[in-house]
C-alpha cells in the first residue's frame, strides 16, 4: 500500500498509468469503439483524402477509409506485438540471466558474451536484417524483435542474481539444503522482479516504436492492416496536402509510447530508492 501511495503522488506516473489503461481499453473494445469498424479492409474511393470533419474527425486516407477508426483498430496490433515480443523475450532472457548470474564459470561467460554481442549491434538494424532474412512479414518482424530484446532481460537479471547470490538468506537456504532450482526460481527470481517489471514496461513502449519503424519500412505489417507505422509510410506520397493522414497515426504512436514510458519511469523511481531521493 505504501507503494501505491507513493505512486499516487507521482503525477507523471499516474498520467502514464491512465494512458496505458486507456489504450488497453480501446484495444479491447476496438470494434465497438471505432465509428467505421469495417474500414480495416473496405475502400470508399469517392471520399478519399477528406480533411477532418464531423463524420471523420481525423479525416480519411488514400482509400477513403476513416483514419480514426483505423487508429482505434490498429491499437490491437500494436499492443499484441508488444506483449508477445516482450513476453517471449522475458521467457528467454530471465532464465538465462538467472543461470549466468548464479553459476560462475564457462556457462556464465558464454551466456554473457553472447548477450554482449547482441547488445553491440543496434536493435533496429539487427531486427531489420533478421526480418529480411526470414522473408518480410509481421511474424518475422515479431520474431526479429524478440531475438533482439531478450539480452536486456538477461543483463538485468544477471546483475540481480549476482547481487543476491551472496546475500545471507541465500546462504541460509543453501545450508538447509534447498535445491538450486528452488533457490533460483523461488527466491532469487521474486527478489529481482521489480527491475524486470520496469524493463518490461519500458520495453513495451520501445517495441511499439521499433515495430512502427519496421511497418514504416515495409518490413512488418502488410496492407490492408490498420498498422500505425504502415499508415504513416502510405501517407508520404500525399503530403503536404493530406497532413492529417500522417499526423494522427503518429500521435497515436507517441501517446501510447509516452504512456508506457511515464509508467515505467514512475515504477523505476518507486523500485529504486536511490533514485527517489533525487526526485
Amino acid at each position: 500500500m505504501l507503494v501505491l501511495a507513493k505512486f499516487g503522488k507521482d503525477k507523471a506516473a499516474v498520467l502514464g498509468a491512465l494512458i496505458v489503461l486507456g489504450v488497453v481499453i480501446v484495444a479491447l473494445m476496438a470494434p465497438l469503439l471505432a465509428p467505421y469498424p469495417g474500414d480495416v479492409a473496405a475502400s470508399h474511393l469517392l471520399s478519399r483524402l477528406k480533411p477532418p470533419s464531423f463524420e471523420h474527425p481525423f479525416g480519411t486516407d488514400n482509400l477513403g477509409r476513416d483514419i480514426l477508426s483505423r487508429i482505434i483498430l490498429g491499437s490491437r496490433g500494436a499492443l499484441m506485438i508488444a506483449l508477445m515480443v516482450v513476453g517471449v523475450a522475458m521467457l528467454i532472457g530471465v532464465p538465462l540471466g538467472l543461470i549466468a548470474g548464479y553459476y560462475p564459470g564457462w556457462m556464465s561467460e558464454t551466456i554473457m558474451r553472447v548477450t554482449d554481442v547482441f547488445l553491440a549491434v543496434p536493435q533496429l538494424i539487427l531486427a531489420l536484417a533478421l526480418a529480411q532474412l526470414m522473408s518480410p512479414s509481421l511474424e518475422s518482424a515479431m520474431l526479429a524483435l524478440t531475438l533482439t530484446y531478450w539480452p536486456f532481460f538477461t543483463r538485468i537479471v544477471y546483475g540481480e542474481a549476482r547481487r543476491l547470490k551472496v546475500a545471507l538468506f541465500i546462504d541460509a537456504l543453501e545450508c538447509i539444503g534447498a535445491g538450486k532450482a528452488r533457490i533460483l526460481f523461488l527466491h532469487i527470481l521474486p527478489n529481482s522482479i521489480s527491475p524486470i517489471i520496469v524493463r518490461a514496461t519500458i520495453g513495451m513502449g520501445f517495441t511499439i516504436l521499433v515495430a512502427a519503424v519496421l511497418g514504416f519500412l515495409g518490413m512488418g505489417a502488410t496492407p490492408p492492416d490498420p498498422d500505425w507505422g504502415l499508415a504513416i509510410s502510405e501517407s508520404r506520397q500525399y503530403l503536404p496536402d493530406a497532413w492529417w493522414f500522417s499526423t494522427f497515426p503518429g500521435l497515436a504512436i507517441f501517446i501510447t509510447v509516452l504512456g508506457f514510458n511515464l509508467l515505467g519511469d514512475g515504477l523505476r523511481d518507486i523500485v529504486d530508492p536511490r533514485l527517489r531521493r533525487s526526485r
Binding site: 547482441f118 512502427a212 500522417s246
Partner: protein, 336 residues
C-alpha cells in the same frame, strides 16, 4: 594509463569475435538457401549450383568461416548488388555523411542538454523540472520517422524555410573532399555558398536525430548535478558566499558530468542506428540510407558489412568512453 587502454582493447576482442560469428550465422545459416538468395529470384538451378560453388557454399561450415574471416580481414566485402560497386568503396564514400550528421546531432544534444539538465536540477521540484521531465520522456517516446515527416511538412513544405531532403541543393557542386564533411570542406575551400547550403540541409535531420540524445543527456546531467548539490563541499562554498551560478559553473558541473559523458558515448551507437531512419526520410546519402536500401533489396553483402561496421564503431566508442572516464576519474584506472 597505457596499460589501462590496452586492457580495455583486449576486452573488446571476445565481443568482436562474437560479432563475426553472429554475422556469419546471419548470412550463411539463417536463410534456408543462401546460394538461392544470392542468385536472385529468376535464377535457374544450374546458376544456383554455380553460385554455390563460386562462393564456397558447398564447403563445410568451418572452412566457410575461415574464408569469411580472411575476407573481413582484407575488408573485402565483395560487390554490392544494388550499386554494382565494391561495398568497401561505397561505405568509405558514405561514412563521412553519416558521421557529419551524428556528430552535429550529438553536439546539439550536448550543448543544449547539459544547460537544460542543470537548470532543471537547480530549480528542483519546480516548473523547469516538471517541464524537463515531460520533455525528456516525450523525447524518447516520439517516433523519429514520424517527427521527421512532420518537420518536413511544416518547415520544408508549408513554410519553405528549409530544404526538404539531401545534403546539398542540386546544381551546387560539392566542395573538394578532404574530410568528407561538407561543413568543414566548404570552409577549407572558402565556399561560403556551399557552407550555408550544407548547413541549411543539416538542420532538420540533425535536430530529429538529436531528440533522443537530448532527452537522455539532460536527464543524466540533472541527476548528476542534483547529487553534487547535496555534497558538503557545495554547502561549504555556499557558506563562503560564492555566487550560486559561479559555484555551479566552477565546481558542481565538473563533478557531475561523469554519468552524462558515459551516456554521450553510449548514445553514439544509438545515434548511428537512428541515422538509419532519419537518413531514409531526408534522403541523406550516408550509411543509414545505404543500409535500408541494402535490407530492402536483400543485398546480403552490404547488410553484413554495415552490421560489422556499426558493431565495431560501437565497441570503439565504448573503449573511448572508458578511457575518458579514466582521465576524468583516476580512481577508475586503479580498479582492475
Amino acid at each position: 594509463m597505457l596499460g589501462f587502454i590496452l586492457r580495455r582493447l583486449l576486452l573488446v576482442i571476445p565481443s568482436l569475435a562474437g560479432l563475426l560469428i553472429l554475422t556469419f550465422f546471419l548470412i550463411r545459416v539463417v536463410p534456408a538457401d543462401p546460394a538461392a538468395a544470392l542468385a536472385g529470384e529468376n535464377a535457374t538451378l544450374a546458376q544456383v549450383a554455380e553460385i554455390r560453388r563460386q562462393y564456397g557454399l558447398d564447403q563445410p561450415l568451418y572452412v566457410q568461416f575461415a574464408v569469411y574471416l580472411g575476407q573481413v580481414a582484407r575488408l573485402d566485402f565483395g560487390e554490392s548488388a544494388y550499386s554494382r560497386r565494391p561495398v568497401a568503396l561505397d561505405i568509405k564514400e558514405r561514412l563521412p555523411a553519416t558521421l557529419e550528421l551524428t556528430i552535429a546531432a550529438l553536439a546539439f544534444a550536448t550543448l543544449l542538454g547539459i544547460p537544460l539538465g542543470t537548470v532543471a536540477a537547480v530549480y528542483h521540484n519546480r516548473w523547469p523540472h516538471l517541464l524537463l521531465r515531460i520533455f525528456s520522456v516525450g523525447g524518447i517516446a516520439i517516433a523519429a520517422f514520424w517527427f521527421a515527416i512532420e518537420l518536413q511538412l511544416l518547415f520544408a513544405m508549408q513554410l519553405d524555410w528549409l530544404p526538404l531532403r539531401g545534403r546539398l541543393s542540386p546544381g551546387l557542386t560539392a566542395p573538394p573532399a578532404l574530410t568528407g564533411f561538407y561543413l568543414l570542406d566548404s570552409l577549407i575551400a572558402g565556399r561560403r555558398d556551399a557552407f550555408a547550403n550544407a548547413l541549411s540541409h543539416l538542420i532538420l535531420p540533425a535536430f530529429t536525430l538529436s531528440l533522443g540524445a537530448l532527452a537522455t543527456i539532460s536527464r543524466f546531467t540533472r541527476a548528476g548535478v542534483l547529487e553534487t548539490l547535496q555534497k558538503d563541499f557545495v554547502t561549504y562554498e555556499r557558506a563562503q558566499g560564492f555566487p550560486p551560478w559561479a559555484l555551479i559553473w566552477k565546481f558542481v558541473l565538473r563533478n557531475s558530468v561523469v554519468a552524462a559523458v558515459t551516456q554521450i558515448g553510449l548514445l553514439f551507437g544509438g545515434l548511428i542506428a537512428g541515422a538509419v531512419v532519419v537518413e531514409t526520410i531526408f534522403d541523406w546519402p550516408g550509411i543509414g540510407f545505404y543500409t535500408v536500401q541494402a535490407i530492402l533489396t536483400a543485398d546480403y553483402k552490404v547488410m553484413l558489412a554495415v552490421t560489422l561496421l556499426i558493431g565495431v564503431i560501437y565497441a570503439l566508442v565504448n573503449i573511448l568512453v572508458d578511457v575518458v572516464h579514466g582521465l576524468i576519474d583516476p580512481r577508475l584506472r586503479e580498479e582492475d
